[in-house]
Symmetry: C2
Subunit: 130 residues, 2 copies
Amino acid sequence: MLKHSDPLSLAFQALADPTRRQLVDRLIAGPASVTQLHEPLEMTMSAVVQHLTVLEAAGLVRSEKLGRVRTFQVDSDGLRRTEAWLHERRTPTERRLDRLEAFLDPTTDTPDATDTDTTHPNHHQARTDP
Amino acid sequence: MLKHSDPLSLAFQALADPTRRQLVDRLIAGPASVTQLHEPLEMTMSAVVQHLTVLEAAGLVRSEKLGRVRTFQVDSDGLRRTEAWLHERRTPTERRLDRLEAFLDPTTDTPDATDTDTTHPNHHQARTDP
């Protein structure tokens, strides 16, 4: 089985496992040690460490060692980059519907299909004044 | 190597390959036959068919046969479901920043962190009238 090592392939590969998605879910709530992450899971500590290693190599979590305890936390940038790839894949019809929706209801939070950087507040399509 | 067969794992697994992401990119532009999809790729027709089978099993593309030609197109629902999983994984800090951003600039298209159904235009956080 061919494995790919580009960042996006590593991220999607890492998320293709329910246990690893469960670990991401747990870490979204806040940082945790390997022991805390292992506790609710029915697997060996070494299996948990292996999953965390895959997630860290994929840039989805980060860890730091304080004394003897290694603490993990999510890497938001990695998760947002992966989400952005999917967000950019909207069909022309979806993009038109997004724009129509935003036009009909300006309070809608529909993401702008033409703007891939959702973290930037000032990118907004110009509107003609009535 | 353990493979998982739940829809989300299949989708992430399918996207963990650059060629398959390239096929999705091509199909975002519009439906295409296997011959058209094969043309720009440096691989055998059978490899292309195999990649398309993985994408179709993951619910990311659909195909239909008209006469002797099988035409593929993206399955937007599958792509949006996968994007939604990532969109829902925002840390409490990211959610607070999203809300702050939306508050400071009501024209911002920042997705509502509390609303996971981005396709629905009427879900919006209630505001107290001044």
